[in-house]
């Protein structure tokens, strides 16, 4: 069954009390043209869960920014073979990448911030992919970033990527799960995982923008760490000015 528009706010309250598997089952039941966003990290649990619910309906995609770790490429391939599913690997527009690199070099994100590069290498292909589906599923969790993900709903009306005149529904079945719960699922179900996790990488993104984290560091500290430092410095200046 495929519906054009769901009452996402009411549904969010109801689905928030359900398990990720129940949320996924609901999503897969509601939409035929639905895809799982797979980053090549621990969001593999979504593929595993969906595969156990409706193996023939699993449609996944990955954003290949061109800057992923070789381990991640190998892992995406491993997942494809393990579940025997199609993973649609989508790429940024070459002209946009060319322009960015010609103008600012290969590491502009260390000097400016990561947003320009992310918008070209991730958001552009993501948008193109989402124009082809009615709903999508992400592994976003509230505990991943207290700053930007604290209020992630389980289901939302995705106005940013919807086709003109149509609606796009976004499901975040893991929103209420913690990292510990995700990893307990991976281990107890023998789900294949990215080898970088065994080397201290908690969050995995592009190679230049991801690093391993140490004990008691939040996973966000493994991504764009140079920007966090800048923010802290600005905060101090602000206090000084007020004094």
């Amino acid at each position: 069954m495929s519906e054009n528009h769901l009452p996402t706010v009411d549904l969010d309250q109801k689905l928030s009390e359900q398990t990720p598997q129940e949320i996924l089952a609901y999503a897969l039941e509601q939409f035929d043209n639905i895809a799982i966003s797979f980053s090549g990290a621990e969001d593999v649990v979504l593929i595993d869960m969906a595969y156990k619910i409706a193996p023939k309906k699993v449609q996944a995609f990955s954003l290949d920014t061109g800057r992923l770790h070789s381990e991640t490429y190998r892992y995406i391939e491993k997942v494809r073979e393990h579940y025997n599913i199609t993973i649609d690997v989508v790429f940024p527009e070459s002209e946009a990448v060319n322009n960015l690199v010609r103008e600012k070099g290969l590491f502009s994100f260390y000097k400016d911030d990561h947003k320009e590069c992310c918008s070209i290498r991730k958001i552009g292909p993501l948008r193109r992919k989402l124009l082809t589906v009615d709903a999508w599923i992400t592994g976003q969790r509230r505990d991943q970033s207290p700053g930007t993900r604290a209020a992630i709903p389980v289901i939302q009306d995705d106005k940013a990527f919807a086709r003109p005149g149509a609606s796009l529904t976004k499901f975040n079945p893991l929103a209420n799960w913690s990292s510990d719960q995700v990893w307990a699922y991976i281990r107890s179900n023998n789900v294949p995982y990215n080898e970088l996790h065994d080397r201290g990488f908690v969050s995995i993104g592009c190679e230049p923008c991801t690093r391993a984290t140490g004990p008691n560091q939040h996973e966000r500290e493994g991504r764009w760490w140079w920007e966090e430092a800048t923010l802290k410095e600005c905060g101090l200046h602000d206090v000084n000015i007020k004094k």
Partner: protein, 111 residues
């Protein structure tokens, strides 16, 4: 078609930064002439017209555009460049578009 722009006044009485930027872009491009009504969502006054509209349509960010066409369900647009492209049928620069989406949805970079 009727287009309503809703801008936000923050608790400290100032206009939200993005509302200011969008207002400037609308004026610079002449698109402001295509806006039929401008309403204020004053965070200090839940009964202000803009706040009531935001509540009615369950919008949690500003500015936003309400587009009403006869015989059709009203549309809400929270992304300026998407609004310009989809509603005003004007060309936008892809990179501006994408940057705005990421700025409005900072959780996406973690994808």
């Amino acid at each position: 078609m009727k287009i309503t722009l809703v801008k936000k006044i923050k608790l400290d009485g100032s206009l939200c930064k993005k509302c200011e930027e969008v207002q400037q872009k609308l004026e610079a491009t002449g698109q402001i002439d295509l806006i039929d009504e401008v309403l204020i969502a004053d965070e200090r006054d839940p009964s202000s017209q803009g706040m009531e509209l935001a509540s009615l349509f369950n919008v949690d960010r500003a500015p936003f555009f309400l587009v009403e066409r006869e015989g059709e369900a009203p549309e809400i647009h929270t992304i300026y460049f998407k609004f310009v492209k989809d509603v005003l049928n004007q060309k936008t620069r892809e990179e501006d578009d994408l940057k705005e989406i990421l700025n409005d949805n900072p959780d996406l970079d973690f994808l």
